[in-house]
């Protein structure tokens, strides 16, 4: 069953006085199945971030529809959109976006507090998530006291704590060193194994090679996609590299 359906999404940015129209997405269509781990790749300016913002309901498409669990995102009322985002989506960002004024524990609690959950329920969820991500011992620390990898794991914990339908990750390894990157990708794999659907936007071939499927976006369209199938990470890595080379040299794919 597909959890996310993106259908003919188009996004045009208009300058302040009606001039300067920029087409960020021309026609994007794809589905994400339940339990899938999808990576989206593309160069700077290819429309990745715009797409992610639309999927996160932070932005609205000019035309086309995005349905999560069969619900059209643009039909959700303004007042409910934040709650919807909170309950159905989990976010992991490149620069972690942890609040400096909160300890890691409080950062992870934030979405649950916003949903008005009870303290007991929050504690129970936190214990489970923290153990899974191996951050139990640093929960009381503040973001400035821990490493980038630890920050990102806390951010993942924050995304997971609400049991979201879909995790949206925006360049999650972008600010990490290679060891932390490996660690995080391993965690993503584990989480996915347990049935969590993940959609990741990335530049990194290495990160994408952990996914089950890789979508390539160019000039605002889905240009190509690769399924891992039964192949290994290394095989996928090789195929992604080849595709990227082809994209860069301007070959006609599809």
């Amino acid at each position: 069953m597909s959890i996310l359906q993106v259908n003919a999404v188009k996004k045009i940015y208009t300058g302040r006085f009606g001039g300067n129209q920029v087409q960020a997405l021309s026609n994007v269509t794809f589905d994400v199945e339940e339990g899938e781990y999808v990576a989206i790749m593309g160069e700077s300016g290819s429309g990745k971030t715009t797409l992610l913002n639309i999927l996160a309901a932070l932005d609205k498409p000019t035309s086309g529809t995005v349905c999560l669990d069969g619900k059209n995102l643009s039909k959700i009322r303004e007042s409910e959109i934040a709650a919807f985002r909170r309950d159905h989506l989990g976010f992991v960002f490149q620069d972690f976006n942890l609040l400096a004024t909160f300890s890691l524990e409080d950062n992870i609690y934030l979405p649950m507090v916003l949903s008005g959950k009870s303290l007991a329920e929050m504690k129970e969820r936190l214990t489970a998530v923290a153990r899974q991500l191996g951050i139990t011992s640093i929960l009381k620390k503040y973001p400035y006291e821990v490493s980038g990898g630890q920050k990102q794991r806390a951010a993942v914990a924050r995304a997971l704590i609400t049991n979201p339908r879909l995790i949206l990750a925006d360049e999650p390894t972008g600010a990490l060193d290679s060891k932390s990157t490996d660690e995080l990708l391993r965690l993503f794999g584990e989480i996915n194994q347990k049935g969590q659907t993940i959609l990741m936007v990335t530049h990194s071939v290495k990160a994408a090679s952990h996914a089950g499927r890789v979508l390539f976006i160019k000039d605002g369209e889905v240009y190509h996609q690769i399924y891992r199938g039964s192949g290994t990470e290394n095989e996928l890595y090789q195929r992604i590299s080849d595709t990227l080379t082809m994209l860069a040299t301007g070959g006609e794919g599809r």
Binding site: A82, L89, A100, T101, V113, L114
Partner: protein
């Protein structure tokens, strides 16, 4: 590189930071303007010419001194704020290849530009408004205004030099900042984490104790003399306590709230409490400054307004009648009415010559002495009195015959020997059943009088007065006759005859009558025998009014004036707080929105935090003012103001007006805060 490039760079620097620069320039202009006006008024010859003008000018001179110091501190403070915010820009310029020398050049041009704009602008408005303030002052003093417009070049010169000096210091400070610039560190300065604020129980508790002690001091003060010394102690304690409480106490409170998990993990509290802890850590000192400035303004404006509003009242209690004659006599003349009758007939002649008639005649004698009241005993031991520090026991005792009392107040009291009716002024109460005058005699208190006529000695003194109405004054003072005080062995008991009356004629005629009476009394005195004692003072309301008003109006003007300046300072600090908070909060609210907080929730949280941050100083200032009230009331007694209800009314209305103004400033400045914060909030 050409200078044109630098000046362009400097001008862009000002233009691009206009959110910060415009208020700065406006404040500089305001300060220049205020300085010019004060300087102008304190030297204005037209102003000096009116009666009482000189007196006010001496107050203004003092005000100009305060303004100088204040302008320096204040402009320095605001400028260092500006420079701090621009450090990143300096770092960027530095990396792009602009050496520190070049940066200094740019900053020099920027300082010259702001100095030029503000000094010229400030002088322009100062000159424009100086005439208005002069007219206002002349009106307050009750003189006639001249409508000539003048520019005081000496004031222009001193103002310009003052501000050139200030700007030079400011520029040196900037140089220092630029010199210490480390570009790499600066570029990343905003990303470095900030340690979570720690609860400092000790300091918070110290602040609370200090504030409690200061409040206790203020409330328990019972006499004005100790009030003066205590006032400064209490002020210092309150200032210190305010800083401690705002900086440490607020953070500690946030930490306590955070510990209470049931309270903390709620939508409405979670974000607000944790950010408040940081906000207070950063802004505690600034808010405490705002609070103290507010309190200063309120105390100053309310007390001076009250003095001014109560001036007529104080004038009447200082001078109970239009014409007041007070004569000190020796014992012989005190009991034998010959000289006083002669004086009265001469006054009558003067009045008849002027076609005036005395109304509400006040005519009584009193034997007065100062002493200390300890329990029910009046301590007459002068040596003991000299060594005592307990000024609150000191009072003056007026002994008046009960027949004078009956005549003046329209009563029919009869007393037997050894009895007295007591009346006390200035909130003093005497509840004992008898009173011992030294070890010499004892009087039984037969009753308490509800009122008595005003007496100029009583209203001039800060000590309370006890009137003892006795059947026979001579008997009472006989045993006291030999007592003296001071190194010159002046008799302890002074004997006075008061004679006062109202006149319904014009003030000029009243002054003329007063002068003629003075002359007559002089003549009378010289016609007396050598051993006669006749020390007289003639005072008249009409003649004293101008001087009287000059003091009160001077204080009033100074109060309002410094009030405006301090308010200006508070407003600017508030504005900069809002702007800097806005920049700091921008990214945090962006994150919260991504996490799934609605715009409404964010705004609610912002609102509650800002409300607390901005109304905390106002409320604390109100609290300070409330506790300072008894102290202010005692201090105003020194100025002869005894009207407590007037003080309450002016204090409360000053607070309300101020709160209204504060609200307005809050509304305007919070708008720029929202503009900054919502810049990142997507629709």
């Amino acid at each position: 590189m050409k200078t044109g490039f630098y000046s362009r760079l400097a001008w862009t620097g000002i233009k691009n930071n206009r959110k910060l620069y415009i208020p700065y320039i406006l404040t500089c202009m305001g300060t220049v303007m205020m300085c010019y006006i004060v300087s102008f008024l304190s030297t204005s010859p037209t102003f000096a010419a009116i009666e009482g003008g000189k007196m006010v000018q001496s107050f203004l001179d003092m005000g100009f001194g305060i303004m100088k110091v204040f302008s320096l501190i204040f402009l320095f403070y605001t400028n260092s704020f500006l420079v701090r915010r621009r450090k990143k820009e300096f770092g960027l310029y530095n990396i792009l290849g602009l050496g520190k020398w070049h940066l200094a050049k740019v900053m020099f041009l920027e300082t010259v530009m702001t100095a030029g704009i503000t000094i010229f602008g400030g002088l322009f408005f100062g000159i424009l408004l100086s005439k208005f303030s002069e007219l206002f002052m002349v009106k307050v003093l009750g003189g006639a205004a001249a409508y000539t417009f003048t520019i005081a070049f000496s004031s222009v010169k001193s103002t310009v030099f003052l501000f050139l000096g200030i700007f030079l210091l400011i520029f040196l400070n900037i140089l220092c900042q630029v010199h210490r610039t480390d570009p790499i560190q600066l570029l990343h300065s905003e990303q470095s984490g900030e340690k979570p604020p720690k609860a400092n129980w000790l300091i918070a508790a110290a602040g609370a104790v200090l504030l409690g002690a200061a409040y206790y001091l203020a409330v328990t003060i019972s006499d004005p003399v100790t009030a003066i010394s205590t006032f400064f102690l209490a002020v210092v304690m309150v200032i210190l306590a305010t800083y401690l409480l705002f900086i440490a106490g607020s953070v500690t409170l946030c930490r306590i709230l955070q510990k209470n998990k049931r309270y903390y993990y709620k939508i409405n509290h979670f974000v607000s409490v944790s950010s408040m802890a940081y906000r207070m850590k950063r802004n505690g000192a600034g808010l405490a400054s705002i609070c103290i400035l507010c309190t200063m303004v309120l105390v100053m404006v309310s007390s001076t307004t009250c003095l001014y509003a109560g001036a007529e009242n104080s004038l009447r209690s200082r001078y109970p009648r239009n014409i007041n004659l007070s004569v000190q006599l020796n014992e012989q003349e005190f009991f034998d009415a010959a000289s006083t009758e002669a004086a009265k007939s001469r006054i009558q002649t003067v009045l008849e010559e002027n076609g005036a008639e005395a109304e509400g005649i006040l005519d009584y004698r009193t034997a007065a002495f100062g002493a200390a009241l300890q329990g029910n005993r009046v301590n007459l031991d002068q040596q003991e009195l000299d060594s005592t520090m307990l000024t609150e026991d000191i009072l003056q005792i007026f002994i008046v015959s009960v027949s004078d009392y009956n005549r003046l107040m329209g009563k029919k009291e009869t007393l037997s020997p050894g009895e007295a009716i007591v009346y006390t002024t200035k909130d003093m109460n005497y509840e004992e059943e008898e009173i011992h005058i030294g070890d010499l005699e004892t009087l039984r208190i037969a009753g308490h009088a509800e009122e008595f006529v005003d007496n100029s000695i009583d209203s001039m003194q800060i000590f309370p007065t006890m009137y003892l109405f006795v059947p026979n004054v001579e008997e009472i003072i006989a045993p006291l006759r030999e007592l003296t005080w001071g190194s010159n062995h002046v008799p302890l008991v002074s004997l006075y005859w008061y004679y006062g009356f109202d006149l319904s004629c014009e003030e000029e005629i009243q002054i003329q009558i007063q002068d003629q009476i003075s002359g007559e009394m002089d003549a009378l005195k010289s016609s007396m025998d050598d051993d006669a004692y006749f020390q007289f003072v003639v005072e008249g309301v009409a003649k004293e009014r101008a001087d009287f008003y000059a003091i009160y109006a001077g204080l009033f003007f100074l109060g309002i004036f410094l009030g405006i300046v301090f308010v200006l300072a508070a407003v600017l600090i508030i504005y900069y707080k809002q702007v800097s908070e806005g920049y700091e909060d921008q990214s945090r609210f962006d994150i919260m929105q991504k996490i799934g907080m609605t715009k409404k929730e964010i705004q609610k949280s912002i609102n509650s935090q800002i409300l607390i941050v901005f109304f905390l100083p106002l409320i604390t200032a109100g609290l300070h003012l409330g506790f300072a009230f008894p102290l202010i009331q005692k201090l105003l007694l020194i100025f002869g103001l005894t009207n407590t209800s007037l003080l309450i009314v002016t204090t409360v209305s000053c607070y309300l007006v101020f709160a209204l103004f504060y609200m307005l400033v809050y509304r305007i400045t919070s708008r720029s805060y929202y503009a900054i914060v919502s810049g990142t909030l997507s629709p």
